[in-house]
């Protein structure tokens, strides 16, 4: 962050706008501080014959235009349909086909927002890309950028940003990191932003009205192969519709009556078998993760104590992290943890600091 007012006027910041409350308040805060603000909205991919991508409906574009006019900064809608399709949507379907549960928002932040969009911002002479994430970036005494949780524990989105590297963090501004959501709504009112009471967006931006299941049926149906459903003990209890349609921890949609409630425990892609079992069997003492990113770029030489989040809204699980090799890690939980899902991100914290994260392998 820059402190001097004069310097701020000469510092161009691109704000990733969604037309919602958070990014609008970001723009207002930066504008008020004196930055040279440019708003940009990425037009993302959407399926044919489905409603517009939630990130960038015509209405959202008009909302963002109104904010930009009110606050007096230029605003542009940018075409990212192909990039988003190739980088995110294809990854999303591929991951399901491989029997895992994808994390499109993590990859989008890493590769699209703080990849392609940041690059485009730089060609416009911008020093920073600002988003409405509830997280903080600060430089420590070694000159390294640290990623910290947002001050609002309910809204903290540091999990979503754990894949950013030092270079990306050095160009990131998250002005909402110091605020709670309700403070942000108050700010929106104070700045007289007409979007102050707009609802937060839910679910993945590119899914249509019929959600995950509908999307997957349309996009992976050619790969779907029926197979057996077995209990952890090996008892055949039913037939599945194709592994890509199931997620670890899922309970509904199995259509099996059994003496106790059954959950999806694992997807065995080799044998095209869905493994189910009691809730208790979802619990794991450990996990392996790959594609690991350490925020400060340094690999721990010996096992370290951490707090792990295994999904965006999960609680913190005390654990020990051991670096293996080739960006793989092993995490040993202090207590068994339910819902470890291959394909999801695992993020490790020390107090309010993100140490890094990876993609759960098993």
């Amino acid at each position: 962050m820059i402190e001097d007012k004069q310097d701020k006027q000469n510092t161009r910041v691109v704000v990733a706008m969604s037309g919602g409350v958070d990014s609008s308040v970001v723009a207002a805060l930066l504008k008020k501080e004196g930055y040279d603000v440019i708003g940009m909205m990425q037009r993302l991919w959407t399926e044919n014959n489905q409603p517009q991508n939630r990130c960038c409906t015509s209405d959202a574009i008009e909302d963002a235009k109104e904010i930009a006019t009110l606050l007096d900064f230029p605003f542009y809608v940018r075409d990212y349909k192909n990039i988003f399709k190739n980088t995110i949507v294809d990854y999303f379907t591929q991951t399901y086909v491989q029997g895992m549960t994808p994390s499109p928002c993590l990859i989008c932040n890493q590769k699209v927002r703080f990849g392609d969009l940041l690059y485009e911002a730089k060609t416009l002479g911008a020093k920073y890309l600002a988003t409405g994430h509830y997280a903080r970036v600060q430089m420590n005494s070694f000159g390294e950028y640290e990623l910290l949780t947002g001050m609002d524990p309910d809204k903290d989105q540091s999990y979503m940003l754990h894949r950013l590297n030092q270079n990306q963090l050095s160009h990131a501004l998250f002005p909402l990191g110091n605020y709670t959501k309700s403070e942000v709504r108050t700010l929106a009112k104070k700045f007289k932003l007409p979007v102050f009471n707009k609802q937060d967006s839910q679910d993945l931006c590119f899914l249509g009205e019929d959600g995950h299941q509908g999307f997957l049926k349309r996009h992976v149906s050619h790969t779907l192969k029926r197979g057996l459903i077995k209990t952890v003990q090996g008892e055949v209890v039913g037939e599945h519709q194709g592994l890509a349609l199931y997620t670890v921890g899922q309970r509904r949609g199995l259509h099996i009556s059994y003496s106790y409630p059954l959950y999806v425990i694992a997807l065995n892609t080799k044998e095209n078998t869905l493994i189910v079992g009691a809730k208790k069997e979802l619990e794991k003492d450990e996990l392996y993760a790959n594609q690991v990113n350490f925020i400060n770029q340094s690999i721990p030489q010996k096992p370290i104590p951490i707090l792990a989040k295994i999904r965006y809204k999960s609680i913190y699980h005390p654990a020990t992290l051991k670096y293996l090799e080739k960006n793989r890690i092993h995490i040993q939980f202090k207590q068994p943890v339910s819902g470890v899902t291959p394909g999801q991100g695992v993020v490790f914290y020390h107090e309010d600091k993100v140490l890094g994260g990876g993609m759960i392998e098993k």
């Binding site: 440019i38 909205m41 960038c56 230029p74 542009y76 075409d79 349909k81 060609t123």
Partner: protein, 379 residues
């Protein structure tokens, strides 16, 4: 001070036009259909305006219908003429061209989809020009309407309307031209021009938005598309937009034919500067058969919207020329029809200027574009 280079999109209302309009908002506001003195005044003023415009176009007053703009004029011309002929059992085939504005193309498409018409879309050559032999080939015994744009707004090419219109006359088929982009650059004389109807719009010539005219030659079969009161000779019901009609009249008085030599000079200077200073840049449209204030280009390896964004940040307002929606760029169908590659068609730029253009501005614009394109190509 930003440089505005999108006069084909719209123009500022001139001082003279605004001054002429102002009394008709709160002073002479009376409904022209009413009987009292004030209403007689507004009714007379509309009549006078219509007469003055008719003189300008060398047509009859009763051949001019005031509408809400170019889009409405095109809509009611095509629907009104096509449907009247269909009802009279003359046929259901429409000929138009791929150089048209969406107001024409989408109207013809609607007639085909929902009203039982068929259509032939004429091709264009590499300059965006329609050819007479293509029109002759397309004519069928059941053709009831030919519609061809006068000047393509995207690439500025002036179509051979006289020749095309004469072919239509030879076969006795109603001929409509969308003259929205021609007004102001080309003098329209109905005694000479072999057309049965044309559309023009106020805001392209320093008049107000929300006003257009449909010229409809006397005795052309026409089915009114808007019913209600008896305004506009029962062709187009609705209380008249008096200030806009008065403004349009004034704008037509000031139509800048007189300046065209000066504008052509600047146009050619801009074209020359771009194609010589920027490698792999190409003029689109016809090099000489184009309107005086219009230039259009394609640039290799450039995304049009990105170029426009960079230009805007440098305070230059321009356009790609095609009607694609913001942030949703499809390659221009017109440029593809002109046989430009998909890649080039994505890199279109249209710059259209007014009489405030100067050599200094042109040099500044060329320099800016050159810098931006270099930056974008090197990234």
């Amino acid at each position: 001070m930003p440089i505005y280079l999108d006069y084909c999109a719209t123009t500022p209302v001139s001082k003279e036009v605004l001054k002429e309009m102002l009394p008709y908002f709160s002073e002479h506001y009376y409904n022209p259909s009413s009987i009292y003195k004030g209403a007689q005044k507004t009714s007379s003023e509309i009549r006078k305006a219509r007469r003055q415009i008719a003189e300008n176009f060398s047509c009859l007053s009763e051949e001019l219908i005031f509408t809400s703009g170019g889009t409405e004029s095109n809509n009611i011309a095509i629907r009104g003429i096509a449907l009247a002929n269909k009802l009279a059992g003359k046929g259901n085939h429409i000929i138009t061209t791929c150089a048209e504005h969406l107001a024409v193309l989408n109207t013809v498409e609607d007639l085909c989809k929902n009203y039982g018409f068929t259509s032939t879309i004429l091709p264009i050559d590499q300059f965006g020009m329609v050819h007479c032999q293509d029109l002759e080939k397309a004519i069928q015994s059941d053709t009831v309407l030919i519609s061809c744009i006068y000047v393509s707004s995207e690439v500025g090419t002036i179509q051979p309307i006289f020749e095309l219109g004469e072919i239509a006359q030879k076969y006795n088929i109603p001929f409509h031209t969308d003259a929205v982009q021609a007004l102001g650059s080309i003098s329209i004389d109905c005694k000479q021009l072999p057309v049965d109807s044309f559309s023009v719009s106020g805001h392209k010539i320093h008049g107000p938005k929300g006003i257009g005219i449909l010229y409809l030659k006397k005795n052309t079969p026409f089915l009114s598309q808007q019913s209600g009161g008896s305004q506009e000779f029962k062709y187009r019901a609705g209380t008249e937009n008096i200030p806009a009609i008065i403004g349009f009249k004034k704008a037509i008085e000031y139509v800048p034919y007189a300046n065209s030599q000066k504008l052509i000079h600047y146009r050619d200077m801009l074209i020359e500067g771009i194609v010589t200073k920027i490698p792999n840049s190409f003029l689109t449209g016809h090099p000489s058969k184009r309107i005086p204030y219009h230039t259009s280009f394609v640039f290799e390896g450039i995304d049009s919207n990105t170029l426009l964004m960079h230009l805007d940040i440098s305070d230059i307002g321009a356009s790609s020329g095609s009607a694609c929606s913001v942030g949703n760029p499809e390659a221009s169908p017109l440029l593809l029809a002109m046989k430009f590659s998909e890649e080039l068609a994505h890199g279109a730029l249209r710059m259209s200027f007014g009489k405030d253009i100067s050599e200094e501005k042109i040099n500044q614009v060329i320099q800016n574009i050159s810098n931006i394109i270099q930056l974008l190509r090197n990234r």
